[in-house]
């Protein structure tokens, strides 16, 4: 039976072997919710950068620059970290260079995995279907906040574990704890999260609308996958009919 595990903080990645696993990177508020939204709205690719200056330098290569530090849009960047910004029709077909406080760092820590995909509530069923179609074990990597565990990423991990629990073995206590928290929260996640540190941090920035949207399941059917350092939409490859010689 395949295994599902949860890494509650990128600072615990040294404990996990990922070379044979599919990693699902999660930063619900708001990096991976933005990435999902962007890909769903026809943005061609997202190149994640851990460092701000590397991201900014991509402007010279015709990329839109996007992301945040400490929840706020970076000066000189074209786009911030609200999913609603990525719905603009003029972004269709464009390339984005993206950096955030936690999400893109979590991607950087996951390099070396067999497969890296982007998860959010917005595409959770698509992610479940993608993982079920693969033979790989799964590690859900929560971006957290500067190394600390956070509640919203843990809840998403728990939701994904809960979807997979029938067909996967839970590898340790982290998926179990995440699943139990999710089951407690699922009927009213906005309320469950209202005391969380990140929601309080973002509330000061007045983005309740973002928070509600980022907690809404199944808005999109895309699965952003990392291919040679670039996030693109996963496309089901139809079986080729090979002509007989």
């Amino acid at each position: 039976m395949k295994k599902v595990d949860v890494c509650l903080s990128p600072d615990l990645m040294h404990l996990y072997e990922v070379q044979n696993s599919a990693v699902v990177v999660v930063d619900i508020l708001r990096a991976t919710s933005c990435m999902t939204t962007a890909i769903a709205h026809g943005i061609e690719s997202i190149t994640p950068f851990a460092k701000l200056e590397d991201c900014l330098a991509m402007k010279a290569n015709g990329f839109y620059t996007a992301g945040e530090r400490d929840g706020k849009k970076v000066e000189g960047f074209d786009l911030g970290n609200s999913p609603f910004e990525y719905m603009q029709p003029n972004l269709k077909g464009k390339k984005i260079a993206f950096t955030t406080t936690n999400g893109t760092q979590a991607i950087a820590r996951s390099l070396g995995a067999k497969d890296i995909i982007i998860g959010s509530f917005l595409n959770i069923t698509a992610v479940v279907n993608y993982l079920r179609a693969s033979a790989d074990d799964v590690l859900i990597v929560c971006a957290g906040w500067k190394g600390r565990v956070n509640l919203e990423d843990t809840l998403f991990a728990g939701a994904l574990v809960n979807y997979l629990a029938d067909d996967y073995t839970l590898a340790c206590d982290a998926p179990l704890a995440a699943q139990r928290l999710y089951l407690q929260a699922k009927d009213n996640m906005v309320d469950f999260l209202k005391d969380s540190s990140h929601v309080r941090r973002l509330a000061k920035l007045n983005i309740h609308k973002d928070i509600e949207f980022c907690l809404t399941p199944d808005q999109y059917e895309v699965v952003p996958v990392l291919k040679e350092g670039v996030l693109i939409n996963h496309v089901e490859v139809p079986l080729l009919k090979v002509a007989k010689p």
Copy 2:
């Protein structure tokens, strides 16, 4: 207002400043439950060692050697890691050198804190009273399992946070998540933990009796405190009446 925080794994200790905080080290199954039991039964002191060979060497200095690796008693050691072993009357007044897979490692990672004490369900109210009497912020350090988060230490952290929540600010999402898990589990902790990795690991070693005991609150009123590298019982110092000159 004082703050209470939770470090869910010793491998996350680099995120926390402890020089002005009281650290509560927790390894419910079973190191800190044993330490509490030992001190409550009149053992004079417990010297924790991270390394097995350092612990064993203390035999030459007249110490009883105690502890485990991977849940099992170490060959050549006088005592294992079951709290019931520490109730023997012949151990009264004796000194113990102690090493375990996770618990004593968590103590080693906590060095540098203003104050280090040992917490378990067995002495939880005594720990609460000790912390409330101090002006220090609190960090609860969960020993986990080889760096991984575990459920039983997280539940204890949640129980302690729940006791302190009226008088302390929750510093981040980790205490909040732990408290929510505890509130979900508190009416039947043995049942809540039955799928946890450590309980399954210990079940193979046939120690249900240990597990039930380690989850029982308020068996003892002692608070083991680390003084110059040695755990001794905290004794309330009565105010001295100073004679007028």
